[in-house]
């Protein structure tokens, strides 16, 4: 089966900013694929090239087997794209926006209603409200409906859950799972690491490069050092102490504990516990843990030498 999305060494430069540096990726049909990375990593540029809105400086991309430059007209009718910034008409109502986008693609809301019903029922009470008057979570749902209303084979979603609360984020991901079950390929970017675990595969992006591409489980295997979860009452003091520990590679707050990476591969948690106790942390507990996606991403980020800290713009 040919991949739904394929890119080969995509490069794109804006002035002196290298937004994409040989970004290569392949997404299978009906795959739910996550593009994980911080602001400025190049996610938006990557998605815009795939959406045929930008032309790469070099490299090649195909969508549904069609070249994004030569085949842009056909691609546009067969994919749905939800940009990061709210892009619907603020002074049209919910209903008018939906009808408008359906019409543009030569479709009707009625014929594709089954695809959007789950999402649209939540919007229905506000169908005459202007889109500009909706809250963040509702705007996202409307934007998704508008991207789906022509029944695309492939969806590109640029940070659909940024600024959305935890409950709405959970609902949004449940919708994506249902769309995937109907055979739609989905490429979604997000800055939330916990969402990575909900994808079939993820790519970590940083400074225009794909740092790693794998399943969520596979990604965490890239983390090879010892990782400890450390807990004590005064967390801030604990973090500072851990950062002064000679074997500590990093120490970061993680929920209710602090994750400390030991630079050695097989370090002993009791050694660290004893060291902390000698420094007055009487109530400390140290436990060896398996790394999560966020631990792995942070470790990968720190291993990459910063290329151009100050020169790197926010190309959002």
């Amino acid at each position: 089966m040919s991949p739904a999305i394929q890119t080969e060494r995509l490069c794109k430069q804006f002035g002196t900013v290298e937004a994409l540096r040989e970004a290569s990726l392949s997404v299978a049909e009906a795959e739910l694929f996550g593009l994980i990375g911080a602001d400025g990593a190049g996610k938006t540029t990557f998605l815009r090239i795939l959406a045929t809105l930008l032309v790469p400086d070099s490299g090649k991309a195909t969508m549904l087997g069609l070249d994004t430059v030569a085949g842009y007209r056909e691609i546009r009718t067969r994919i749905g794209y939800m940009p990061g910034r709210f892009s619907l008409y603020q002074d049209l109502s919910v209903e008018e926006n939906l009808n408008f986008f359906a019409t543009v693609f030569g479709a009707t809301v009625e014929e594709n209603y089954d695809l959007i019903r789950d999402i649209y029922v939540q919007l229905e009470p506000f169908r005459t409200r202007r889109a500009g008057q909706l809250s963040g979570g509702m705007k996202q749902k409307l934007a998704l409906c508008c991207a789906l209303v022509h029944r695309p084979e492939l969806l590109l979603l640029d940070e659909p859950t940024t600024g959305v609360d935890a409950v709405s984020r959970q609902e949004f991901w449940q919708m994506l799972q249902r769309l995937k079950a109907q055979g739609i390929t989905i490429l979604v970017s997000t800055p939330y690491m916990d969402e990575a675990t909900l994808c079939d595969r993820v790519a970590f992006m940083q400074e225009g490069r794909m740092l790693a591409i794998d399943t969520p489980q596979g990604i965490t295997k890239l983390f090879t050092r010892s990782l400890f979860a450390v807990q004590a009452r005064d967390r801030h003091k604990l973090i500072r102490a851990l950062r002064s520990y000679e074997h500590a590679r990093s120490a970061y707050a993680f929920g209710s504990s602090v994750h400390c990476t030991d630079a050695r591969n097989a370090a002993d948690p009791s050694e660290l516990a004893a060291w902390l106790r000698s420094r007055g942390f009487d109530d400390v507990t140290v436990e060896r843990i398996e790394p999560g996606i966020e631990d792995t991403f942070m470790a990968l980020m720190e291993e990459q030498p910063a290329q151009s800290e100050a020169g790197k713009g926010d190309n959002g």
Partner: protein
């Protein structure tokens, strides 16, 4: 017991027939990191606007830094710092110009401003980029600068409205290092976030649902009371049954 720097009593705001904030009563203690959570549309923004003196309440009482939210909004604004992802610094000014501009707005004299500004650029290691347009700086640096600028006039309380949205996990945690530092120096931190792991970093957390405060306690107690492993679970359990449509 530390003094309360924010105190509200049945604070309420209505818009027409809609009650955005419905009789909320709580207090925030000096030097505390207070997490103010809630779903989109739960009433957080309206509550924050009242506490920062930008919106008059419909009824109820509140004092911020000892000043009344009805009559002393000017004094409130002088006693607080504010930073959000949406509103922070000007992209087409340089770091140095932003410091001068916002310091001036916060009422700092030019001599004081120059001194503090230089010290700030030095402590943030921004001297080399001090005269570069802000737009060319990485988001993480901008956020650090915005946070520091909001503290320049030494406010008693700093309000942070989703300060870490969209940044990478390392930068997010470095930002929290700065929050801890500010709290250690006695500044009260009032912070909203959609990252539930950050809720765990707060001393106490309130969760708003449908205009009311549905829960308020330390993260440990909240997790214990809701028999939950994480703050994310606590939040979802409280916020999911919300009646008010997120609109």
């Amino acid at each position: 017991m530390a003094e309360a720097v924010i105190q509200t009593e049945k604070l309420t705001r209505r818009f027409g027939s809609f009650t955005a904030v419905d009789e909320i009563s709580f207090s925030v203690l000096a030097g505390e990191i207070f997490g103010f959570l809630g779903a989109n549309g739960a009433g957080k923004t309206t509550a924050m606007k009242m506490l920062t003196g930008l919106l008059a309440p419909t009824s109820g009482e509140a004092t911020v830094a000892g000043f009344d939210v009805y009559k002393q909004t000017e004094s409130i604004r002088r006693s607080i710092g504010y930073m959000s992802q949406r509103f922070s610094l000007y992209d087409d000014l340089t770091p140095r110009e932003n410091i001068r501009f916002f310091g001036g707005i916060y009422g700092l004299g030019s001599l004081e401003l120059r001194e503090k500004g230089e010290r700030l650029l030095e402590s943030l290691d921004l001297q080399e980029s001090a005269d570069t347009h802000l737009a060319a700086l990485p988001l993480g640096w901008k956020q650090k600068l915005a946070f520091s600028v909001a503290l320049l006039h030494e406010p008693k309380i700093i309000f942070l409205d989703e300060p870490t949205g969209g940044v990478d996990p390392v930068t997010r945690r470095r930002f929290w290092d700065m929050i801890y530092q500010a709290a250690d120096s006695g500044v009260t931190v009032f912070v909203t976030t959609h990252y539930m792991d950050e809720a765990e970093y707060c001393d106490r957390v309130s969760i708003m649902v449908d205009g009311r405060i549905a829960a308020l306690d330390t993260p440990e107690e909240l997790k214990k009371n809701f028999n939950a492993e994480t703050m994310n679970e606590v939040f979802i359990r409280l916020a999911r049954p919300a009646k008010r449509m997120d609109s």
